[in-house]
């Protein structure tokens, strides 16, 4: 009985953790290059609506995921243009992107509200692996294939960031852009690319919500998940593997906020992930943990050649 409950909880935790993980991985790349993008919520919801619309019209859910990525990516370039090229304040530009994304998705998604989606990305069970006791049931029974993509991306993106020249380039642009510039790196191009990667992943995360996780479009369906991603990025200390840890933790909290509903009022449970995000940052701010946090030095600073 308890076994079943724990296995069920852990298995559903993965389903919640997936969109958080995808978007957090993207935001980590964006911020590592020095660009804070508070538009995650907006990019996610644009991804969600365009994925649903594409799958609904063409009947191809994978094409829907692709378009979700493109939509998130294009939206992120707007933030890139305003904050990298026009050097505007990154906080305000990101907020603008979220407002615009919520507005546009509400406008163009209106017709899809309440429509059933026939072509979804359905869950799979992995043969053989699902026979493993406990672990098999948690990881390999009735899970979305997108989960495995997210899980595979984590070590890959971590490796690229910390063990390849591409990663060194990204980090140097985020830590000391003028030094990177004198070393012949095109600071603007690196930043644009990282912002674009962040946007694509946020879009895909949104697409997962509308055509894989619970296939339906509802206005404002991301419901603050994009903001949790911003908190998770700090929680993860801009490190993809810790991002996985954080996504699982918050995925579990989000799942529990449904699971515990027979005993506690649902509204109180829904506060849990947001309250916990604050609590987690408070705990991280103490003592030795603080030193290992370190945000990228040039985060939020537009780069102007010739100035310090």
């Amino acid at each position: 009985m308890i076994d079943e409950w724990v296995v069920g909880t852990l298995s559903r935790t993965l389903a919640y953790a997936t969109p958080l993980l995808l978007a957090t991985l993207g935001e980590i790349y964006s911020e590592r290059s020095g660009v804070l993008n508070l538009g995650v919520e907006g990019m996610m919801i644009l991804g969600a609506v365009s994925a649903f619309a594409t799958a609904f019209i063409t009947g191809n859910p994978w094409l829907g995921m692709l378009i979700a990525g493109v939509a998130g990516g294009v939206a992120s370039l707007l933030h890139g243009f305003v904050s990298i090229t026009l050097r505007a304040n990154q906080v305000v530009s990101g907020l603008a992107l979220t407002m615009l994304g919520l507005g546009l998705s509400g406008l163009f998604g209106k017709g899809f509200e309440g429509q059933p989606l026939d072509s979804t990305i359905s869950n799979v069970s992995v043969p053989f692996l699902k026979e493993i006791p406990y672990l098999g049931e948690i990881l390999f029974v009735d899970q979305s294939p997108i989960i495995y993509i997210a899980l595979a991306l984590t070590p890959a993106m971590s490796f690229i960031l910390f063990h390849t020249s591409v990663g060194i380039t990204i980090r140097s642009v985020g830590e000391n852009p003028s030094a990177a510039d004198s070393a012949g790196i095109n600071v603007w191009r690196v930043r644009y690319l990282c912002v674009f990667v962040g946007g694509m992943l946020a879009g895909v995360a949104g697409g997962y919500l509308s055509i894989a996780y619970r296939p339906a479009w509802t206005t404002g369906m991301t419901n603050g998940m994009g903001w949790l991603v911003i908190a998770l990025t700090i929680f993860a200390s801009w490190n993809p593997s810790r991002g996985l840890l954080g996504a699982l933790l918050f995925g579990a909290l989000m799942h529990l906020s449904f699971r515990l509903q027979p005993w506690v009022a649902p509204e109180l449970l829904k506060m849990m992930p947001y309250g916990s995000a604050i609590l987690a940052l408070v705990i991280l701010s103490f003592g030795t943990l603080k030193r290992s946090m370190g945000a990228p030095n040039a985060l939020q600073q537009p780069y102007i050649r010739g100035e310090k």
Partner: protein, 359 residues
């Protein structure tokens, strides 16, 4: 190559007032231009849409009163945000602070033993304090522990939303509301008077205008205001001069959160007369107030004008929602576009073009 151009782009120290206004107007024009593309893509004639928007905001006395009514919460919250942004505190939490103010006012109106004649003042007082308390938490976390203010203020919005949902569906649910998630209606002594047949609760409006003037003087003419400005532009210099960053941040967020809280009091005491679903209660005034404060270029007095502008967008947006069948998110589209154009055009203000003189 750049030297061969007939002009030169130079950095300018202090953009002139006229320059700021010209650029802002062009930015607004650009935002409306893109918005018309959105209208067109949605299948609505942009010219009709703008005509409906304009007449919905200014078409008659009632329309103007609707604009003023929507501007009221934006004015109060916006003035509070100006002082936070002056101190470089990213208060994205005005929405939550507004909701907490509404919640405290509802408690006073429905459950407190306060006698009738004192109800309204008590609602504003408790609303201010509740909003301020909600704002002081992130202020404390940032100034003492260095925790990111954007995150904490935002997360607290979601905590506030769910707290109110809990109250109106649970312990505070009205007995006479047919099972709807509302509290009972406020007694008449807890309702703000309105101007004639309009929804303008003028007391809140007067508080907002007075607060704009007071906060202008606080920032520009007093010692705490001076400290806020110094610590906002250069925390290191301020600390060196013996100013307390913690004290200044707490003061700023006490005022900022409190102003948003009073905006919430106005909405429940002047418009709804009950506590209800946060999405119906506020329409995102707390987020729009960020743009209101930004467009005012951090000047509390300018907020009086910019809040009216966004009040018009809310009122006009509501009108085209009805006449053109557009969903209410159209105001979010406007807000997002305007904000993008405003900050994108700021670069034009800090640079000037100078023609080269022939040698």
């Amino acid at each position: 190559m750049i030297n061969k151009l007939p002009f030169e782009i130079k950095k300018r120290q202090n953009p002139s007032g006229l320059g700021v206004m010209t650029v802002s107007l062009f930015a607004l024009f650009g935002a409306f231009l893109v918005a018309s593309i959105v209208f067109w893509a949605y299948g609505a004639n942009p010219i009709n849409a703008f005509r409906a928007l304009f007449s919905g905001a200014f078409g008659g006395l009632y329309e103007i009163s609707e604009t003023v009514r929507r501007a009221t919460p934006l004015l109060l919250a916006g003035v509070g945000l100006v002082i936070a942004f002056k101190a470089k505190f990213w208060n994205i939490g005005a929405e939550g602070q507004l909701l907490l103010g509404a919640m405290a006012a509802s408690w006073v109106a429905l459950f407190s033993p306060i006698p009738d004649p004192l109800l309204i003042p008590a609602m504003f007082l408790f609303g201010f304090l509740a909003g301020a308390a909600w704002g002081l938490i992130p202020a404390f976390l940032k100034s003492k522990l260095g925790i990111n203010d954007v995150i904490t203020t935002l997360m607290m919005n979601y905590v506030a939303i769910n707290l109110i949902l809990f109250l109106v569906q649970g312990p505070w649910k009205g007995e006479k509301q047919w099972g709807f998630p509302y509290t009972d209606e406020f007694p008449s002594a807890a309702r703000l008077p309105t101007l004639g047949n309009t929804n303008v609760h003028w007391i809140t409006l007067v508080i907002g205008v007075l607060a704009a003037v007071l906060i202008y003087f606080l920032i520009n003419r007093t010692t705490p205001g001076f400290e806020i400005r110094v610590l906002g532009s250069s925390p290191a210099a301020g600390r060196f001069a013996g100013m307390s960053y913690v004290k200044s941040t707490l003061l700023v967020m006490f005022i900022s959160g409190g102003m948003a809280g009073m905006a919430g009091v106005g909405e429940v005491a002047g418009i709804h007369h009950k506590l209800m679903n946060p999405a119906e209660l506020s329409l995102g005034y707390g987020y729009t107030a960020i743009i209101v404060a930004w467009l005012a270029r951090k000047n509390p007095l300018s907020v009086i004008v910019t809040s009216l502008f966004f009040g018009a967008i809310f009122a006009g947006g509501n009108a085209i929602k009805v006449s053109l069948g557009l969903p209410f998110q159209i105001t979010d589209v406007f807000n997002g576009l305007i904000l993008f154009f405003l900050i994108g055009s700021e670069i034009l203000m800090s640079y000037k073009i100078e023609w080269r003189k022939n040698k």
